[in-house]
Amino acid sequence: MHDAPQTGQTTPTVYLDHAATTPMLPAAVEAMTTHLADVGNPSSLHASGRRARRVVEESRETIAQALNCRPGEVVFTSGGTEADNLALKGLFWARHDADPRRVRILASSIEHHAVLDALDWLAEEEQAEVELIHVDARGRLDLDALRASVERDPGSVALVSVMWGNNEIGTIQPMAEIVAVAAPHEIPVHTDAVQAVGAVPVDFATSGVDALTLTGHKLGGPYGVGALLLRRELSLTPLLHGGGQERDIRSGTLDMPAIAGFATAVEHAVKTQPEYAERVAALRDDLVRRVLEVVPDAHLHGDPAVRLPGNAHLGFPGCEGDSLLMLLDARGIECSTGSACSAGVPQPSHVLLAMGCDEEGARHSLRFTLGRTSTAADVDALVEAIGPAVQRARRVAR
């Protein structure tokens, strides 16, 4: 490629895919590293075990404080996908067992695959009746449709699940209003808040949600650890049976060093959220404005105002997102088409399709997401590269 660097040379990377994962906070690395050489199973009764257990419990309290829930409401998992699966399956089974009439699960049509695929499975294997409530062209849940669906037969609803902020287009859902629809009927509400924690204010107790998923690696913590915040009055059928850890809700030896790193990251993310959001939103707005100057017929997807601060999801008509991604990658600019891969082949985004984009529209998009380590130089680099990349990508015939 004429405008690509020689293989073997390292191009400074411009990382614009923070929604996929983000660098670990140095303090989180330190917290984790400090404990990696320790020995002691947090479940053991001796001093070493108790030492490890103490780190876990202090981490639990830190997270509980940051998100305003009780420590006992924090269930550690291996990450967001496990927490989503635990919430959906566990709540469905528990609610259904308590009353067999409860077969319906209501979710938005733009949930992450960790929710949608779990719901597909519940529908196929556990006779759940899954209803995906549609969203408008900006990705905002249709509250009237949700209300109508609930009120049609509230006694048949096992749970409601709506993600707090969408990972692809960034749209933030009206969580308070969603809770207001479900709560009068005592229907538990779960939310996948994996993208929201640290980006927008998330307060478990005041939000009124019953279950909330968060994960370490999206907010500066390590991979492999996450949590389900679960209102302690709720019963849940576990996914993992075994040693009875996490009050029998989630068996398995706790990854104490990872949990320490996780807690450090959560605390920092929540504490710095207001300044972070302001700084990153300014960078994002600058990115969007300048990219649209270079590519006038590009457009922003999602709600322009009520969206995650670091998210810029843009459509580039006449191009395929994966060609653009390749061209930018060759110049060291890393972003995402925002959609899941099936066998390594990008699929048209189900989120965009649910918002009413046609297939072509669903394929011509790129997601740029900024994070804690993003700078103005990152935006400059993208703005410089995007024009030529779009020009070239438009030459690729479908």
Binding site: M1, P5, Q6, T7, S323, L327, A343, G344, R392, A393
Partner: protein
Amino acid sequence: MSGGVDSAVAAARAVEAGHDVTGIHLALSRNPASYRSGARGCCTIEDANDARRAADVIGIPFYVWDLSERFHDDVVEDFMAEYAAGRTPNPCLRCNEKIKFAAVLDRATALGFDAVATGHYARVLTAPDGTAELHRAVDPGKDQSYVLGVLTQDQLTHSLFPLGDTSKPQVRAEAAARGLLVADKPDSHDICFVADGDNAGWLRQKLGDRAPNHEGAIVDGESGAELGRHDGTFGFTIGQRRGLRLGVPAPDGKPRYVLDIEPVSGTVTVGPRDALTVDQITADRPRWCGIAPTRPVEGTVQLRAHGREHRARVVVSTGSTGEERVEIELLDPAQGIAPGQAAVVYEGTRVVGSATIVATARTGVPA
């Protein structure tokens, strides 16, 4: 990068030669999960992972390009249509012609690349006049110039075959030396989109009602007598001996072979082996690696992948409506040659071009 050892080593060599290389795995199946177990074909998810790992080891970017729709339309549909018409296609040639060195090359060129490199065993040499020539590989047992005989000059000038000068055992040794885990991976032999190599079963399932005849008669080539019935012409190919299930032996006690397949009536004609012998072949829709021959070619032809070479005299003419016609006179007669197969013409090791066989004949025998 298919996930096999050849394309992995080819990629490594291209990097070593100083090229700026990007590894691409082609997702050609519309259902990659389906060919997971035991297939000797290609391009399951595991193959994609093997290709990805090889790219990691080599140190090049890696992407998967989904060409499954184009592949289905240009290669799989063509395969089915040819069989339904009673012909015997070679989908690998069609894939090279339409996908690997067309759709892929076009996309690559648009994105700013200069060439497509593959692990095919063949060589591209530059003639004194500067044109690109396609030649057989140095390892005759692995030579794949036959399936590349469909490439035009333009395609050849944008192709790279780094393995053409190496033998297969050397390639495997090199893969191992380079730390490529695919060094010991078995070669794929079957058609990539037919799991477990059961072409007839696949066709039966896919063609279903589309085949003009579900069943028909098997008749004797000499007498015209009906010897039996069959349940689909696509289960047969010219020169086939097995699977005839005739029950009644031939008068001379020798095996019978499929001589002809007529798909409209569903008639399959059988006869003795020497009735399969042909020494004249008519082919059309030629594709020339350089310029079309203006004089008769005294060279050789190869009529199947890994088939033998037949000395031949090849004459190219232009028909009344402008279509090119290739007449091949075989000095070394051939047997079991079916319409739809490719005839690839060579002058020494150089590929002149290829054409699709439409008819065969034997001197002195009426058609």
